[in-house]
């Protein structure tokens, strides 16, 4: 054992808040869902209903279709970005990242805005939104591996007589496959639990399990059946996740970590054409819907108008009759909620990261535990919290902090992921260096390890802010009338038939998109600095 032990109280002191938070706001609601909410009648009703299995089938096939389409669409930009250098390359990456971070509701609104009316509220619109939304997952996950895949490896195959197509089939594709299946698993999980996109662009009858959980609980008041469906979905998610992990373990290649193969300017004219085509097409597809958002926010059946922007403080069907959503209030609520959620997520996430890094192996339990809320769907998280904290003295349904806490629960894993890597990288070596310079273990930790947290924490805070701004699933359960957040208001307004109400929905979606874009710029800026 090393004589350089930090005080025993350090790790417990760090992890107590994250652990208690996780136990209170995730594990307890989860247990409630499992033990209390599910009953025999509800189970029989859900499992015996033909509709349930049709919903399971729809959920599955649209997720598979979305995943396959996303992979197909994402491969070309992934290749162009990984292999070629061209003007606007970095911007294109930022744009795709921004699209990925976009709230699901905004994404749905954007697709609704850009597609012709005949495709609105069809399954095609759902698939289009899913593909657009997740293309960045493929570009980033597959692209990252592709960038590290030496061009010379493909060259070696070419010198051995392989044509471009064969090089891709026999060398590139097999090496990208683990990354592709990782991307596929992520896309599948996202689309399998699709909620915001379906609520906004889907028809009334288009329902994933996630939407059905929400509908049963909030429209039909069938808590028990909603709980059964939530658990059914969790079981499916767990199965897919397990399969994906084992599949990746089996397929993983010990790809030596090589330095980045530096992307080259395309030299052949055909290459230049292909690169330009793919880059322009990708940018158009990624940005077009957002331009359409803005256009829709200033459109009326009679022509161009700023009325929706001007009268954002009300949402009336006609004088005196309100739809119950105040767009400006929603904006204010979202910002307040975002500040609190970000604060909570950053503090809890930072404590957790420091604790996990300091605890070494034992930290993995907390690390894995904090990831659980992502694996569970947001709807399930919100639903569980709502039916758990309903009795005194734990009746927190009306507490102002319950929505921020719900958001933080979803955001903390991202904070931990963003910060933990940095901490782990500096942990043993830098502390040792500090020790040889005369710092006590605690002091070494405080002066050498902790300061490394600040920069990633800014990035983490930005992510948490983006997550809170866009969170829809948990909020659908936790938010109370009169305290709607932007995504709730957007969904509500876009669901109306009145053109001014819809335009206001597009206004809010535009604002939310702009806010998310700003967050991505912050992330970009802070992530780039250390490199340059």
């Amino acid at each position: 054992m090393s004589p350089n032990q930090r005080p025993r109280w350090l790790v417990p002191a760090l992890v107590v808040v994250p652990s208690v938070g996780l136990a209170t706001f995730y594990l307890w609601p989860f247990a409630t869902l499992l033990v209390e909410a599910v009953d025999r009648d509800g189970t029989d009703a859900v499992l015996g209903r033909g509709r349930t299995w049709r919903i399971v089938w729809f959920t599955t096939w649209q997720a598979v279709a979305s995943t396959v389409l996303t992979l197909l669409v994402g491969l070309a930009p992934a290749w162009v970005i990984a292999r070629f250098d061209f003007p606007g390359r970095r911007t294109l990456v930022s744009v795709l990242t921004a699209v990925f971070v976009m709230p699901t509701v905004v994404m749905g609104a954007a697709v609704l805005a850009v597609l012709p009316d005949s495709l609105d509220r069809t399954v095609w619109a759902v698939l289009a939104a899913h593909v657009l939304f997740n293309v960045a997952v493929v570009v980033r996950t597959v692209g990252a591996v592709w960038e590290h895949l030496p061009a010379d490896m493909e060259h070696a195959a070419a010198t051995l007589g392989a044509s471009r197509l064969v090089v891709f089939r026999d060398v590139t594709f097999p090496l990208l496959r683990p990354a592709m299946s990782a991307a596929a698993a992520i896309v599948f999980l996202f689309t399998f639990t699709s909620f915001g996109v379906i609520r906004v662009v889907g028809a009334a009858g288009t329902r994933t399990i996630e939407v059905e959980v929400w509908r049963r609980a909030t429209q039909l008041g069938q808590i028990d059946q909603a709980a059964v469906l939530a658990l059914l979905q969790l079981a499916a998610l767990a199965a897919v996740a397990t399969w994906s992990v084992t599949a990746q373990r089996r397929h993983s290649r010990a790809l030596e970590l090589r330095p980045l193969a530096r992307p080259q300017r395309p030299r052949r004219r055909t290459d230049r054409r292909i690169v330009a085509l793919v880059a322009v097409a990708t940018a158009t597809v990624a940005l077009g819907p957002f331009v359409a958002l803005i256009v829709k926010s200033v459109s009326a059946p009679t022509g161009w108008t700023l009325e929706a922007w001007r009268t954002l403080d009300t949402a009336e069907v006609r004088p005196g009759l309100s739809v119950g959503v105040d767009p400006l209030d929603a904006l204010a609520n979202s910002l307040t909620t975002m500040l609190w959620a970000t604060g909570i997520a950053v503090v809890v996430g930072a404590l957790a990261s420091l604790g996990i890094a300091a605890a070494g192996r034992a930290g993995r339990v907390l690390d894995a535990g904090l990831m659980l809320p992502i694996g569970t769907s947001a709807v399930t998280v919100g639903f569980g919290m709502l039916i758990t904290f309903d009795t005194d003295p734990y009746d927190w349904r009306a507490a102002w902090w319950i929505v921020p806490v719900g958001h933080a629960l979803v955001a903390v894993p991202f904070v931990v992921r963003t910060t933990l890597g940095v901490l782990r990288a500096v942990e043993p070596d830098l502390s040792a260096a500090a020790a040889t310079l005369g710092a006590s273990p605690l002091r070494a930790w405080r002066t050498v390890v902790v300061p490394h947290l600040w920069k990633p924490l800014v990035v983490a805070a930005a992510f948490a802010a983006a997550i809170s701004l866009g969170e829809f699933g948990a909020t659908s359960f936790l938010s109370r009338r009169g305290n709607e957040t932007l995504p709730i208001a957007i969904e509500n307004l876009l669901g109306r038939a009145g053109s001014l109400l819809q335009a206001k929905g597009y206004v809010l979606a535009t604002l939310l998109a702009a806010a998310t874009m700003a967050v991505v710029l912050v992330v970009d800026r802070f992530q780039e600095r250390p490199r340059s």
């Binding site: 509908r215 909030t218 349904r397 038939a497």
Partner: protein, 405 residues
């Protein structure tokens, strides 16, 4: 706790009924307040008797009594605002209803904030999820089709308003123990835009059967019965008409409606103001109220000699709407005062023109336009509350599968 308050409410109801029977005349809202005080004082006494074995005996456990006890103690102790949760078609400002609520504020010092909570089904489900820790203090507008769900979920704190004396017992039949308070009634009927049908050269429909005639393809917009009370009422009307047989029952009727391109909106407001052709939408036939035509006459931009919209009388379904104190509110006293006010003559008089429904208070005289243009069907359809209660969720499920896919 719950049993106890129910017993209390029952006792209170008996007392009120007795007191009112002896008074035997119309009570103004001021009198009502006084009556409240009197009866509840007696209820407290009853409490002590009933729970003699209880440790709390003699502590005057007024907190349990959902009533206006504290009103007499001191006005300054009243909260200065109260939240009325209502469905979307309840006006939030600028109408006679809102002026009346302002009068309530002037009289009591209690400001009434209206919280619009979507359509009835959505509003009720949220109330169920927040039962005991409600989003407001009083809820307006749970109708007879949804009422049993609200009662089963303990959404309301039972309360018997002294003002019930002016209300036809027909309407309190569903709430014998003060589970909620009837506030309005009406009929949900198929309405049509006379001008639009004329332009299209189509005769107004005469009943349910016409609506599945190809001549009426793409003309009708209805509400989703999962979220909307007129939507559910219309569904129940079709069930009343066609029955529940496998063949030829309501489901095959709805299949024909689907084949005839019926449109579905989430709620009445969206259907009437956003889809109905009279308001610029694309559908000349809409599920609305028997009282909709007079509204269009009274609020027309130019004077009309006849109603611009018509009602298909044979499709009407009887609707009674209720208000209740949301269980768990900290403002029970103020909530009770508001309930009393909501059934008072002055407030009820504003309902027809602003909420499209008829008053339940027998002392209200209807506006002449209503007498002239409103359709109050001779025999409105209805289903037994027990039957609705037993089948509602199955019917809605089946409807959803059938119509929304």
């Amino acid at each position: 706790m719950n049993h106890r308050s129910r017993a209390l409410a029952a006792a209170a109801f008996a007392l009120v009924a007795g007191a009112c029977a002896s008074d035997g005349d119309d009570t103004t809202s001021d009198d009502t307040a006084v009556a409240t005080d009197d009866t509840t004082t007696e209820v407290d006494a009853t409490t002590e008797d009933d729970t003699a074995s209880d440790d709390e005996t003699g502590t005057g456990d007024a907190g349990d009594a959902p009533d206006g006890t504290d009103a007499s103690a001191s006005d300054s102790e009243l909260a200065d605002s109260i939240t009325l949760v209502a469905y979307e078609s309840f006006p939030t400002e600028g109408t006679g209803v809102n002026e009346q609520l302002a009068n309530f504020t002037a009289e009591t010092g209690i400001d009434v904030e209206i919280l619009v909570a979507g359509d009835t089904g959505t509003m009720l489900s949220k109330a169920e999820l927040t039962a005991g820790n409600p989003e407001g203090d009083v809820m307006w507008g749970i109708d007879n089709t949804f009422l049993s769900r609200a009662i089963a979920a303990d959404v309301f704190e039972p309360y018997v308003s002294p003002a019930l004396a002016d209300i036809d017992p027909e309407f309190t039949r569903l709430v014998p123990n003060g589970e909620a308070t009837p506030v309005d009634r009406g009929d949900v009927c198929v309405n049509y835009d006379i001008g639009a049908l004329e332009t299209a050269g189509i005769e107004p429909p005469s009943g349910f059967d016409d609506l599945v005639d190809p001549a009426y393809a793409g003309q009708l917009v209805v509400q989703n019965p999962a979220t909307s009370s007129p939507g559910l009422a219309f569904l129940l009307a079709t069930i009343d008409e066609y029955g529940t047989d496998e063949a030829g029952g309501w489901q095959s009727y709805w299949q024909q409606l689907v084949d005839n391109d019926v449109a579905v909106a989430d709620g009445w407001t969206a259907a009437y103001y956003e889809r109905f052709s009279y308001y610029g939408g694309d559908r000349p036939i809409v599920v609305s109220y028997g009282s909709s035509p007079p509204f269009e006459v009274l609020f027309a931009d130019e004077q009309l000699d006849a109603a611009p919209t018509g009602v298909v009388e044979s499709t009407c379904f009887r609707q009674v709407e209720f208000a209740g104190i949301l269980a768990g509110t900290e403002k029970e006293t103020e909530a009770a005062m508001l309930i009393d006010f909501l059934v008072s003559k002055d407030f009820q008089a504003e309902l027809p023109l602003n909420v499209f429904v008829f008053p339940v208070n027998e002392n209200v005289e209807l506006d002449q336009a209503f007498v002239d243009y409103a359709v109050i069907p001779e025999t409105s359809r209805s289903l037994e509350p027990a039957e609705i209660d037993a089948n509602r969720s199955d019917w809605i499920d089946a409807w959803t599968d059938l119509v929304l896919g």
